[in-house]
Each structure stands twice: as structure tokens, then as C-alpha cells.
């Protein structure tokens, strides 16, 4: 039992390290930084000036929301890429044909992305404090770190869901990117979810990130654990549900794609 557990943990971290090496060791520091911070930074500036033009008077609201989207996008993208790229390079059938359990293999690959997104978000907060005058003096940094890490982990459930879609279509990455762009609207990144039509507000509460981002905003306003406890618990629960659904969906589609022989079909 212990041996099996150690084996799973070993696979998990081995996959995490290999994933990191495979993904970023070949790129340059410029490419890495531009990819991690460049796009979110300019996207955030774009939204800030859009907001300024229409009279939205709180640019820091947009800054905080967009920084918190970084770990979420990393968490989702990590798992989806882990599955999608195996398919793209024609190696998925070998991975699935191996005796290694699926969960640590693919979740392990997401590990680095989650940690990376989390660290990038913290770096983003430091940069935002310097550029936009974001006041961190009253902020409980530990709680802010918990919120950032939580949104990265809970969003990886959605990554599993979109990664599973990669088993049956080559457009999994495109579908994820489309979904990611909907997050600019749906989870309170750029404006409060109360600005959404009522039906979309209800949908928003059923998504990971909504509560996590809300909790982080409260922490940024100087609130303590007691004020965010329920939001954190809700975020963790929603995330867990998505991870479970994502995993079951993955197992279902894995069986289906093995029967149809479409694992590596491009």
C-alpha cells in the first residue's frame, strides 16, 4: 500500500519535472517572461483604458482581477496542454498504453504550471504595487497567497475537462482558449458580476474562480480570514467538483477513444 502510494507520488513529481523541462527549458528568458507576464500585462492595460474611456473609475479592480486570472489560466492550460500535446506529437497512445495511473501522470504535468502561475501572480501583485500604486500595506499576504494558489488549483479541474476534450478532437486547445476569453466576462475579472445579466450571474456562481477572486479582493481591502472563510470553502468545493467531473470525463473519453481508435487521429 505504502509502496503504491510512493510510486504514485514519484510519478507525479517526475512528470512535473519533465513537463517543466519540456515546456520551458528550450525557450529564452525573454520568451518565458513575455509569455508569462507580457500578454496579461498588455491585456490588463487594454481593459484599463477601455474602462477609462467608458468612465469605469476603478482601474485597480481590473488590475487585481487580471492578475488573479494568471494562475487560473496556468492551471487550466497546464492540464489541457499535457493531454493535447501528447496527441499532437502522436505519443498519447504510448502514455495511455503504459501501466502508469492516469491521474498522477496528467495532474503531475499540471503541477509545474500551477506553481508557476502562482509565483507569476505574486510577482504580478508586486509589479502592480510599483506601477499602479496598489497598496499592499494593509493586506494579509498569507491569505492573498492562499487565494492565488486556490484559484490555480480549482481551475485545473476545468483543465482536466478541456484536456479530456483533446482526446476526441484536435481543437481542445482552441476550445480552452475560447473558454478562457469568456472568463474575462464571467467571473468578475474586469467588473463586478452584478453588472452581468441575471442569468449569467447565476452561471458565474457555478464556475471556479468567482468566489476565489472575490475572496482575494476582500483580502486586498484588508479583510481577514473570518470574512473570506465561506468564499474559500465554496471555491474549494466547486473546484473539487470540477476536478472530479473532469477526471471521470477523462476516463469516459479515454475508453471511448480507445474503442474508436481515434487517440492520435489528427
Amino acid at each position: 500500500m505504502i509502496d503504491k502510494f510512493v510510486h504514485i507520488i514519484r510519478i507525479y513529481f517526475a512528470e512535473a519535472w519533465l513537463s517543466y523541462q519540456g515546456r520551458f527549458a528550450i525557450t529564452s528568458p525573454f520568451g518565458y517572461i513575455a509569455g508569462k507576464l507580457g500578454f496579461p500585462f498588455f491585456l490588463m492595460l487594454f481593459f484599463i483604458f477601455m474602462g477609462k474611456y467608458v468612465g469605469f473609475s476603478d482601474p485597480l479592480y481590473i488590475v487585481i482581477g487580471n492578475i488573479l486570472l494568471i494562475p487560473a489560466a496556468s492551471g487550466m492550460g497546464g492540464v489541457t496542454l499535457a493531454i493535447g500535446e501528447e496527441r499532437q506529437w502522436g505519443t498519447l497512445s504510448y502514455v495511455l498504453g503504459s501501466p502508469a495511473p492516469r491521474s498522477p501522470v496528467f495532474m503531475g504535468r499540471a503541477f509545474y504550471y500551477i506553481v508557476d502561475g502562482f509565483v507569476t501572480a505574486l510577482l504580478g501583485f508586486a509589479i502592480a504595487a510599483a506601477i499602479f500604486g496598489l497598496d499592499l500595506s494593509q493586506v494579509n499576504i498569507l491569505l492573498l497567497m492562499i487565494c492565488s494558489l486556490l484559484v490555480a488549483v480549482t481551475s485545473s479541474g476545468l483543465g482536466f475537462l478541456f484536456g479530456s476534450i483533446s482526446l476526441v478532437t484536435r481543437d481542445g486547445w482552441m476550445i480552452l482558449n475560447t473558454f478562457l476569453s469568456f472568463l474575462y466576462i464571467m467571473v468578475g475579472v474586469n467588473f463586478p458580476i452584478t453588472s452581468l445579466p441575471l442569468m449569467l450571474q447565476k452561471l458565474s456562481w457555478g464556475l471556479p474562480l468567482t468566489r476565489g477572486i472575490m475572496a482575494a479582493r476582500l483580502v486586498m481591502e484588508g479583510e481577514e480570514w473570518s470574512a473570506i472563510r465561506s468564499l474559500i470553502a465554496g471555491e474549494a468545493l466547486i473546484g473539487l467538483i470540477y476536478i472530479l467531473i473532469g477526471y471521470l470525463f477523462f476516463i469516459f473519453l479515454e475508453k471511448r477513444s480507445m474503442q474508436s481508435g481515434t487517440l492520435d487521429a489528427m
Partner: protein, 263 residues
């Protein structure tokens, strides 16, 4: 010779259009992403307490965003795809120059972006009741043609980098948002700090777009429009000259480095 090139252009464009039509990735680029950006603009406007959205910047600006994103990503993925599939070496080795192929592809990608702009105009008219009352129609039309030319000139300029090396190609992806942000795709350029307005002055798209937006808002100030059109055309020509200057160097470089099939 001339008829051969027309044949090449026709064939290349029809293949490109076919690929675009059948690939859901481009649906995301030309339709969904602009719609999402427009929705963010409208909801920000709503959150700010405005009862109606700004149709020129929030809705039609979304179409411009789609045109630009489409150009950046389709041009990037075309050449990355060639590189990945081992086709880039064959294209460079063929009698038809890579520059000509890239020029035609970029033109097709720019024209494909019109689909996004058309949808944005349709949404503005059919969903939000936008009327063309007071619009400087000829100003819009001329600005649009110059905008397409500006985008094409930047597209062929960037194609050199994509052919040059695998890594430089990845940087082109990151230009999507900086250019959109600097050129005021979804807000007037005056919203930017003055020093950023000076920087954006180096991008021809900014001038053509500003002229188009002002024409849409009903400006008939010919002096303003002509100055903007000339700036856009002049800067586009500068980009084309730079492209021609770089092409020989890039071709020498890729032959020496053997990077063509490096993925």
C-alpha cells in the same frame, strides 16, 4: 509571367480561404474573441453607469480587434505550421519566392479579417440599431482601404521574423495586445498618456484607424483625415522598405543557420 502570378495569387488565396473556413480556430479568432472584447467593453460601460454602449469603439472596435488578432495569429500559424510539417524548406527552395507567398498569404489574412469587421457592423446595426446618419461614408471607405494596407505592410514585415527563426516567431504572438493597446482599437487614442500617443505614432494602423473612427463619428474635417491617411500610407511604405531590406538578410541567415525545419 504576369498571368502566372495572377494564377498563383488566385490559387494561394482560394486555398487560404478554404483553410480558414473549415478551421474552428479561426471561428474563435474572427468571431468569438471580438464578441467577447465587445461584451467586456459594453459591460464595463454598464458597470460605469452608462445606459447605452459606445457603438463605434465598443462594437465596431471589436471587429478591428478581430481583424488584427486574425492577422497576427493566422500569419504566425501558417508559417509555424510550414516549419512543423517540414514545408518551409521546400517553399524556400522552390522557384516562387517565400516573400511573394508570404505577401499573398498576408493579403488573404487581412481580407479574411474583414469578415470580423462585417460581423461587428452587422451587430451594431441589427442588435444595437446603429444608423449611418451623419457618417462620413467616403471617409470611412478610404480609411478602411488604408487600414487594410497598413495591416498588410505590418504583416509582411512580421513574416520575415517568422521565417528567420523558431524563437523569433514565438515573439510575434505577443504583439497582439501591445499593438491593440497602443493603437486604441477599442478606445480613442486621446485616452492614452501623451508619451504613449507618441509611441503609437510609429504604427501606421493607428493613423488609419483614427481616421476611420472619426469618419464614423461624423467628422468631415478633410485636413485632419488627409493628414492621417498620409501618415498611415507613409509609415506603411517605411515598413515595406524595411521588409525589402531585411528579406535578403533573412534569407542568407536561414540558409546559413539551417533553422528552417527547426521546431
Amino acid at each position: 509571367m504576369t498571368s502566372f502570378r495572377w494564377g498563383l495569387i488566385k490559387q494561394q488565396m482560394s486555398v487560404q480561404f478554404l483553410v480558414r473556413t473549415l478551421n474552428p480556430f479561426f471561428l474563435g479568432l474572427f468571431v468569438i474573441q471580438p464578441a467577447v472584447f465587445s461584451a467586456v467593453g459594453m459591460l464595463l460601460s454598464r458597470a460605469a453607469g452608462n445606459s447605452t454602449p459606445d457603438l463605434v469603439y465598443n462594437v465596431i472596435g471589436g471587429g478591428i480587434m478581430g481583424m488584427w488578432s486574425g492577422l497576427v495569429f493566422t500569419s504566425t500559424y501558417d508559417i509555424l505550421g510550414d516549419r512543423r510539417n517540414g514545408m518551409l524548406e521546400l517553399i524556400v527552395g522552390s522557384p516562387t519566392s517565400l516573400n511573394l507567398i508570404e505577401a499573398i498569404r498576408t493579403l488573404t489574412n487581412v481580407l479574411a479579417g474583414l469578415f470580423s469587421l462585417t460581423l461587428a457592423f452587422m451587430a451594431a446595426i441589427l442588435v444595437f440599431g446603429y444608423t449611418f446618419t451623419g457618417v462620413n461614408f467616403w471617409g470611412v471607405l478610404i480609411s478602411l482601404v488604408i487600414l487594410l494596407f497598413s495591416m498588410w505592410s505590418i504583416g509582411v514585415f512580421l513574416a520575415n521574423f517568422l521565417a528567420w527563426s523558431r524563437l523569433s516567431g514565438t515573439f510575434v504572438d505577443y504583439l497582439e495586445m501591445p499593438i491593440a493597446f497602443l493603437c486604441g482599437f477599442m478606445y480613442p487614442i486621446r485616452v492614452l498618456p501623451v508619451w504613449l500617443q507618441y509611441i503609437s505614432g510609429a504604427v501606421p494602423i493607428r493613423w488609419a484607424l483614427e481616421a476611420m473612427n472619426e469618419s464614423l463619428l461624423g467628422s468631415f474635417d478633410l485636413h485632419y483625415l488627409v493628414v492621417h491617411w498620409l501618415m498611415a500610407i507613409g509609415l506603411s511604405i517605411v515598413f515595406i522598405v524595411l521588409t525589402s531590406w531585411m528579406q535578403a538578410k533573412v534569407h542568407d541567415s536561414i540558409r546559413l543557420s539551417g533553422e528552417l525545419s527547426s521546431i
